[in-house]
């Protein structure tokens, strides 16, 4: 019965977005000397914009240090953005007082990458999960225990575990507890910050399936940050590719995988290992050089230093993200 209702909640891009990110910038000052003079900025996120629609999963991929996690942290307000707007359900998060913000936070949750540092080692699982409920007074005190038991069942852990401490669990179980903690306040949007990259491959699949099932069950919207393309492909409806603080391409998952338009996306995809040797692409695009420093990004298109198809225009003009369903920021997109 529930499964039927789930099918109806497939993504409809016509509905209004639950989250709009507009020109988000996150710059960290580099200071020098005893007077802490600012000598420059690390441009971790340098003006990105995207929308997430209710019920969908937007995957965010890119190399280490391209600003994926910073974006996720800015959305759940763990860091104050340097510039730009984060609009959740039509309201700009920067406009809220800290008291109002605490209420909004119940709708915006985050699942962390490292299941070993994301749980307080001194708290029993039961306390860990009941504290948010008691703090926000979302349920009557006598209902808390039931709600905690229910959420443990939802994430596939026996309710008898409430009295245990985090160190008594395996990585996969800890990640389930992290998911339970993010779920317990009935959030609308969950930022999954590489939730499976610290886990074994077999456990990864379990956790990904769990996330998929939860999404259907509770009509959740995910921003799924990851660098394992397999996981991102499996869970995402749409994918945004980031390079050096900017989104270079954003499109439906199958479009990106079948027909990448940005040279960086296609290089990233060709690095994705294909298990079947007969299906392997003969030509592998191997990028030359390292990622440039985000403190001193290249002029024009930031990718021009490593792009195999670079032309003089790329060095001078900054490309903008163009296109409706399949947007790409490139002067000479691949076809």
């Amino acid at each position: 019965m529930i499964l039927e209702s789930l099918k109806e909640t497939t993504i409809s891009t016509e509905s209004s977005p639950i989250l709009q990110v507009r020109n988000l910038k996150q710059h960290y000052p580099i200071t020098k000397g005893i007077l802490s003079r600012t000598v420059g900025h690390v441009k971790a996120v340098d003006g990105i914009s995207f929308d997430i629609f209710p019920g969908e999963t937007l995957g965010l991929v890119g190399e280490s240090g391209c600003g994926k996690s910073t974006t996720g942290r800015a959305i759940v307000q763990l860091e104050k953005p340097t510039e730009g707007e984060i609009i959740f359900e039509g309201k700009n998060l920067a406009d809220f007082s800290s008291r109002e913000m605490r209420k909004i936070r119940t709708d915006l949750q985050i699942i962390f990458q490292d299941p070993y540092s994301s749980l307080n080692p001194r708290k029993r699982i039961g306390d860990l999960l009941s504290e948010p409920l008691l703090f926000h007074k979302l349920v009557e005190p006598f209902e808390v225990k039931k709600k905690v038991d229910d959420i443990l069942e939802v994430v596939g852990l026996p309710r008898a575990y409430v009295g245990r401490y985090p160190h008594e669990f395996s990585g996969g179980q800890r990640q389930r507890i992290g998911i339970a903690r993010a779920l317990i306040l009935n959030p609308k949007l969950i930022v999954c910050d590489e939730p499976v990259s610290a886990l074994d491959v077999s456990i990864q699949a379990q956790v990904l399936n769990l996330l998929k099932d939860l999404q259907k069950e509770f009509q959740l919207t995910f921003l799924f940050i990851g660098h394992g393309l397999g996981a991102v492909k499996y869970i995402s409806d749409r994918i945004a590719v980031m390079y050096l603080g900017n989104i270079v391409e954003i499109a439906k998952t199958e479009d990106i995988f079948k027909n990448p338009k940005h040279p960086y996306s296609s290089a990233l995809l060709s690095a994705y290992p294909v298990p079947n040797p007969h299906l392997r692409n003969k030509e592998k695009i191997v990028l030359q050089g390292d990622v440039p420093s985000p403190a001193n990004p290249p002029s024009g298109c930031k990718f021009h230093t490593r792009c195999p198809f670079v032309q003089s225009k790329c060095r001078e003009e900054v490309p903008v993200l163009k296109g409706i369903d399949h947007s790409v920021a490139c002067h000479f997109p691949l076809s």
């Binding site: 985050i110 948010p132 703090f135 926000h136 069942e153 903690r181 306040l185």
Partner: protein, 306 residues
């Protein structure tokens, strides 16, 4: 919403059963530390010695053979059956005074440390968590406090306030916090970057709740180790002050002011019963506490966890 038809199928049943079987042994962090502490032989020895000293202090009136203030025996008598450790220059029983003096040392040790642990933890936690200008101000004050010659400031303050047990506790307590503040600040700085603290922020908890419920319990171990060594240091400090005449004043007995009598050469050479016992007590008390501190430090050291 219905929670029933959710997939708990992700964990195979056999694994579930195995996990439930292990449910019986529940190990808490504190229990792990206690077990490891008890395996440390010197620490256990220290704990036994320290417990004996504490018991001696608590039951002083029961144990002491004489009134420590009573003058009326032979002056400077050698140890005998009546006075096991002899009598002092005004004819008081040395053993009784030694037993009562343990109360002074322990109250100074525990009192001063209790005061400065509280001050140091609060200031260090605020500096570490708030950062920016709060950190800047608190840490500069800490630097100032740490750059004074410690003993001189204490001597001046005690002579201004008047030497008494209570004043010594206050002065040592209000001057001893800077190392604790630095220690706590350091722990808080690293703990506040932990994901579980970020999760607390994302869950909307207030800053005091995050600090008290989530950060400080995890910073407790180094504070506890430091406080243990601090007790020993405070006992030595009290003995030094009393020896210099700026500490606990006679007729109240303290191990330090009992040692004062050894300033005279005749006592030093010919009446060892007047200064060896209090000296020995100071050494025993400090060593026992330091052994415990060592054991505690090893027990909470995450590197030695298996």
């Amino acid at each position: 919403m219905s929670l029933q038809n959710l997939n708990s199928a992700v964990i195979p049943n056999s694994e579930l059963a195995k996990q439930q079987g292990e449910l019986g042994k529940e190990e808490t962090y504190l229990r792990v530390i206690a077990t490891r502490f008890l395996k440390h032989k010197l620490a256990v020895l220290g704990m036994i010695m320290f417990t004996l000293i504490v018991l001696m202090a608590i039951f002083a009136p029961v144990i002491a053979p004489h009134d420590p203030f009573e003058i009326g025996y032979e002056f400077e008598a050698k140890p005998s059956a009546e006075h096991i450790l002899g009598t002092d220059q005004v004819g008081r029983d040395v053993l009784s005074r030694l037993i009562y003096a343990s109360r002074v040392s322990l109250s100074v040790g525990l009192g001063a440390v209790a005061i400065y642990v509280v001050i140091g933890t609060i200031l260090g936690a605020i500096a570490g968590y708030m950062g920016k200008w709060a950190d800047m101000i608190i840490m500069r004050i800490t630097d100032v406090f740490m750059s004074f010659p410690f003993l001189m400031v204490i001597l001046v303050l005690v002579s201004v306030m008047g030497p008494s047990l209570f004043n010594i506790i206050l002065v040592l307590g209000f001057l001893g916090w800077p190392p604790i503040a630095r220690l706590v600040r350091g722990s808080v700085l690293s703990l506040r970057e932990m994901d579980y603290v970020k999760a607390g922020v994302a869950l909307g908890y207030t800053a005091p709740r995050i600090l008290i419920n989530h950060i400080l319990p995890n910073a407790l171990a180094p504070i506890l180790v430091n406080a243990t060594f601090g007790i020993a240091a405070a006992i030595i400090m009290e003995a030094s002050l009393s020896f210099l005449g700026m500490g606990v004043q006679p007729p109240t007995a303290s191990w330090g002011n009992m040692l004062t009598e050894a300033q005279s050469l005749t006592v030093l050479a010919q009446q060892p019963w007047l200064w060896i016992p209090p000296g020995l007590m100071i050494v025993l008390a400090v060593i026992s506490i330091n052994f415990m501190g060592d054991g505690l430090r090893d027990a909470v050291d995450p590197k030695s966890f298996k």
